[in-house]
Each structure stands twice: as C-alpha cells, then as structure tokens.
Symmetry: C2
Subunit: 190 residues, 2 copies
C-alpha cells in the first residue's frame, strides 16, 4: 500500500537494532483517518470472504481493529494478556513470547465471544517473529472457529513470522512489508 | 442516552459487589457499530468546541477512543500503564490507583504527542472512583494543553469520581449514569 509506505518513510523512525518506531500514527498516537484508509484496503483484500468477527490483542492492536471492525461491520474481540496462568473454565488460552520484553505470557479470550460458527479475521499492527499472531490463531483453533486470515499493518519481512504463519496455510495480508532497513533507509517488498 | 441504557439493561451483567460487566459490547468484545452511535452522541454533546486530540488510557479505552477519533476527525493518544517509575525526559507521567486490582501504577504519554496548543477531549469506557480520569487530566496539565472535557460511556454515579472531577471544573459528559444497582436491576439517572 503506497500510502502507508510513504507515511512510514515520512514519519517512521529507525533506531539501532532494526527497530522501527511508528508511534506517531500507528501506536501510542493513532491517526484514525489514516487507519481508516488502511481498513478500506483490508476490506478490498478480503472482499468476498465471509467475516463475522475481528480478533486482535491488547493493547496497540485494539484501535486499529476497531476502525477495521467499523469498516467490515462486525464486532472486535481483543485477547487479554495475563501474567498468571488462567485456569478458568470460561476462557480459551494460549502462549505468546515477547522478544522485545524477553518473556512469555498467556493470552485469554472469553469463550462467549469466540464460537465455532465464527469466521475470524485477525488484525494487528505488527508482524515480526509471529508469536502474537500464532497465539491468536491457537485461540481461534481452540474455539473451533474458522480462520479467514490475518490483516497486518506492517510486516518486518526480514523476520521469520510471516513465512512461518503462511506455511501453516493461513492467509496473511500485510499492507507494508519491510525487506530491510539500512541506517534510516527503509526498503519495502513491492 | 436511551440506546445505551437499553443495551446495558439487555446485555449488562450485574455481579455481587456492585460490579457491572459490559464485556459483550464495550470491553473485551466491542460492538463497533454501537460504539459509533455513542461517538455521534459525544460529537453532539461537544458540538461547537474546538478539539484537536483525544486522550485515553490502555487498554479498554482505546477502541472506543479510536471510533470517537474517527467521528471527530482528530488523532487519538493513549496513555500507557507502566509498573516502573519512568524517569525518561521525553514523557509526561502521573499516577493512577486501581481499586479493582488494589495497586497504584504510573501512566505515561510521550511529550511529542501532547502539546501546549492541544485542546484535548478525554474518552474512557468507565468512570467510577475517577482515578484514571484524574491521572489523564494531570497529563494534560503537565503538557500545558487545554482540557475541553471528558466523554465517558458509563458512569457509576454512586461512586465519587464524577463529582470529584466536576468539582475540579472539568466538564464530564457520561452517556449513561448509573444511580444504583439492586440485584440485577439497574437504575439510571435521567
């Protein structure tokens, strides 16, 4: 998505260690009108697919997912992060590894909000190592629901997550795919 | 807002200890189309006010704030919760007490995203003891920005937060104000 690549080039900040900060329009501060354009693109990409629910993970995925939910006309469910193993009977749970924070945590979603008949589109801001996305896929599998695919705003395609998830047979649509970052220069996959 | 009161009566679950769960349409699962109706009501209430930014707090406020941001045509900034005192020079910080989780945490917002010239509308899902709202007000004050007011989806008017914040001279508009809960019966302030 040209509009997004231009915006990343303009407002993204590249930090040492292949870190890309898009705090000014994707997370922390969210440019809602711009994200609405991204939502339209997800709608176009998943045109013709039946989708009944959008699933994301707290916190930075929620805002984007809600704008996408508005575009698709379906509710959004967000998986909650929890530090304690949740043995409650009324939630589905899976594990996510945070490479940034170097720890593993559980994510949960109430069984009430993910049903076998649901056709789920996963939405998230970033895809890098794919751990969060993998955890969300597992929640959908636990529920016996259908995974329609994933819509990612920015994929760090130099990391293995995207390949790993696609190899599972899950459709992944990323609006911008970063091939490499050299200094402050960002190279995208067309 | 009649629509919201009806929805709370229909889908809200009252639990022991004056707990109201609206997980099925406000938090955890978000009914985006319904929240868009709430956003229109906030727009009507703050008609004529200049607003340049919406401020909320992670996690459950973010989705609602983004739908409101879309309605107002302004960006959303969400304050992040942090367990460690943040001494970074590039953030504003304040304290929030969680009565549910019985602990105090710091909230931060990057100075880049809250400027003296900003006219800020605070959006949150709940107002009870007012600690989160108070913390957000402090962040705006630290930035030297203008507080236009707060837009709250559900106010537990039997708790003191609303009064406390209004006594500070801050405009608070709550779409539903709960006077009392008796068993599963919910009484609203008209």
């Amino acid at each position: 998505m040209k509009l997004l690549e231009d915006r990343i080039r303009k407002d993204g900040i590249v930090r040492e260690g292949n870190i890309l900060k898009v705090d000014s329009f994707v997370n922390h501060q969210i440019d809602c009108a711009f994200i609405a354009e991204c939502a339209k693109e997800f709608k176009r990409l998943y045109e013709g697919e039946e989708i009944t629910k959008i699933l994301t993970i707290e916190a930075s995925g929620i805002g984007i997912a809600c704008i996408v939910g508005l575009e698709f006309g379906v509710p959004v469910v967000f998986a909650k992060k929890t530090k304690t193993v949740n043995i409650a009977n009324d939630v589905y749970t899976s594990k996510v590894e945070s490479f940034t924070h170097k720890r593993t945590y559980d994510i949960i979603v109430a069984k009430d909000f993910l049903k076998p008949e649901d056709k789920v589109l996963i939405i998230d801001d970033f895809l890098a190592m794919g751990s969060a996305l993998h955890g969300l896929i597992e929640l959908i599998q636990h529920a016996g629901a259908t995974i329609v695919g994933a819509g990612i705003v920015i994929e760090k395609a130099y990391q293995e997550g995207g390949q790993m998830i696609r190899d599972m047979g899950v459709r992944v649509e990323s609006l911008a795919r970063i091939k490499a970052m050299h200094g402050t220069e960002i190279e995208f996959i067309d």
